[in-house]
């Protein structure tokens, strides 16, 4: 009941400050840029006159799954930044401005406050990711060839988990600092560190959440689901739960403002 109150308020807030419009739009743009530019690259080069007279230009056409994965990589780069940006002030901002003083003297459980906010952003991210990858999938099928619906759904599912994991890191950081900029910095720093460590020690930490997208690539190409993908997804879920619990705990035991 209280949980739903905060959840609905968050959705309304995201709607009123247009997050529900611009986040999906930016995600779609990110996702369809690569399939379109790859397909139209010859024409673009021709139009801009980048080739000398008489030269012919043969581009090997990449396989559809490869192009679809390009979209995912794009989201991975800038999508992460966007997630951190939209969520960096959700709790820290309320604490800094003093709204939290009014909200948290009401008899609301801290874990409801944290998880309701988390859920509202998770919904936004999943919807945005789904629409963006749907657009990308449509263009890939149209311009390059078939990627199966199963592969598409699988990508949305596993990739959504990775996005959710990033969001959870950001929510957790929110309870640590009142400064939104610091929340952003720590979130991005942690994600970059995770990415780096995971790719350097890829064989040791096979189940690292940061490896979800690289496992996904293998899964798309081979058409099978490697167990490491499930492992990575499992750790992402597990760490998300731990981080959420830790966020509620920190908020409760910290001075609210």
């Amino acid at each position: 009941m209280q949980w739903l109150t905060v959840f609905n308020k968050e959705l309304l807030e995201s709607w009123r400050n247009f997050k529900w419009i611009w986040v999906p739009l930016v995600f779609i743009l990110l996702a369809i840029t690569d399939p379109l530019t790859t397909y139209y690259l010859p024409q673009i080069l021709e139009a801009t006159g980048g080739l000398p007279e008489g030269a012919t230009f043969e581009m090997p056409e990449p396989p559809p799954t490869e192009v679809f994965m390009m979209s995912v990589s794009q989201l991975n780069l800038i999508g992460v930044l966007i997630i951190a940006l939209i969520s960096m002030g959700t709790i820290s901002g309320e604490r800094k401005s003093g709204v939290a003083e009014l909200i948290l003297v009401k008899p609301i459980a801290y874990h409801s406050y944290v998880t309701a906010k988390w859920a509202a952003y998770t919904l936004l991210i999943w919807v945005s990711t789904f629409i963006a990858l749907l657009a990308s999938w449509y263009y890939v099928n149209l311009l390059f060839g078939e990627v199966s619906a199963g592969s598409f759904l699988r990508t949305v599912f596993f990739y959504g988990l990775w996005m959710t994991f990033i969001l959870t890191i950001s929510i957790f950081m929110n309870t640590f600092s009142k400064t939104a900029g610091l929340v952003l910095f720590f979130t991005i720093a942690l994600v970059i560190a995770l990415n780096l460590l995971s790719s350097v020690f890829a064989h040791v930490v096979e189940w690292s959440p940061a490896l979800i997208s690289s496992h996904l690539r293998n899964a798309l190409i081979s058409g099978e689901l490697p167990s490491a993908l499930w492992g990575s997804a499992g750790t992402a879920v597990l760490f998300s739960i731990i981080l959420l619990a830790a966020a509620a705990y920190t908020l409760k035991h910290k001075e609210i403002s």
């Binding site: 209280q2 807030e13 009123r16 709204v99 003083e101 009014l102 009401k106 008899p107 035991h253 001075e255």
Partner: protein, 307 residues
């Protein structure tokens, strides 16, 4: 109804609140007085559960169970709201957070909006509110769940004279329904609208009790007289009375310090009647809250210096 025991808050060796204990009885309006930096806000915030005390407890007495926050309404000194919401939306949101149903929250919100006088602007975004409107909305949100204890941190200091008047009148009305604890450094307000006071200085409670008992305790035994002509000639006669310790002339009036006010009143009035003194004014000395405040705070300041 609420008991505070040995409550302390220490910030890096600075004892913001230093071992305070008191009990508030229901149906009273209590003023928490003190100069700036005395620890009033810190004490209120600990009672509201916003910060955790270094030591000590805050307990609700009676049949109150569960979350202490359900029984408390709190208005911070500078309230901030979700400025993208309308006033009415915010109240409903606050009400639902305090376990009211959607319907209850809405009807309670409308009721309170009328009561604090911002019903006309209920559907305006809070970002467009004036400071006075925000303060009223702040009081409304603190009342949304009919708390048994209403805590207001400096509710009138930021308001213009009209807004101040309105809020004080509102508090006068609210007294009938709920216990009010509010902090202020404006002594007139405290004198006007509170039954009891708690006087804080440097984190400690240095005086407490009902206003009249405090005044009795710190009574200055003084009678002020004013005559139609110069007070000089009467002064000598007054000096000769047994109950009078000393006299002091201040422009038109003469302050007579006495040992026993009741006896002195009788003696002086008898004398005045017998000798046909042209009295203009006869006033028994009454200490004002301001005198008391200065007296207590200064005596502590002096004690600190001696140490």
């Amino acid at each position: 109804m609420i008991t505070v025991q040995n409550l302390s808050k220490v910030y890096q060796n600075n004892r913001a609140v230093d071992d305070i204990s008191f009990t508030l009885s229901s149906g009273k309006c209590i003023a928490l007085l003190g100069p700036n930096g005395a620890g009033k806000t810190t004490a209120l915030r600990m009672m509201a559960g916003l910060i955790s005390p270094t030591s000590g407890t805050v307990e609700l007495l009676g049949e109150h169970s569960g979350d202490i926050r359900s029984h408390i309404g709190y208005l911070p000194q500078h309230p901030h709201f979700h400025s993208w919401m309308t006033g009415r939306e915010f109240l409903i949101y606050a009400g639902k957070l305090a376990y009211l149903s959607k319907k209850e929250a809405a009807s309670r919100a409308d009721q309170l909006l009328t009561r604090v006088g911002i019903f006309e602007v209920r559907n305006r975004r809070i970002s467009k509110y004036s400071g006075g409107m925000e303060q009223r909305l702040g009081i409304a949100q603190a009342l949304i769940h009919k708390p048994e204890l209403l805590m207001l941190d400096e509710p009138v200091s930021a308001l213009d004279p009209i807004g101040r008047r309105d809020v004080l009148n509102l508090m006068e009305e609210l007294k009938k329904e709920t216990t009010i604890l509010y902090s202020t450094h404006i002594l007139n307000d405290a004198e006007e609208s509170s039954d009891e006071i708690l006087l804080m200085h440097e984190g400690k409670i240095v005086e407490s009790g009902s206003l009249s008992s405090l005044k009795d305790r710190h009574q200055v035994d003084k009678i002020t007289l004013q005559f139609e002509d110069s007070p000089e000639s009467y002064r000598q006669k007054l000096d000769h009375l047994n109950v009078v310790t000393r006299t002091e002339i201040k422009k038109e009036t003469v302050d007579v310090y006495v040992t026993d006010q009741a006896l002195a009143r009788e003696t002086i009035l008898n004398l005045a009647l017998k000798e046909h003194w042209p009295l203009l004014q006869f006033e028994m000395g009454r200490i004002t809250l301001e005198d008391l405040f200065m007296k207590v705070v200064q005596s502590y300041a002096v004690a600190d210096r001696i140490q």
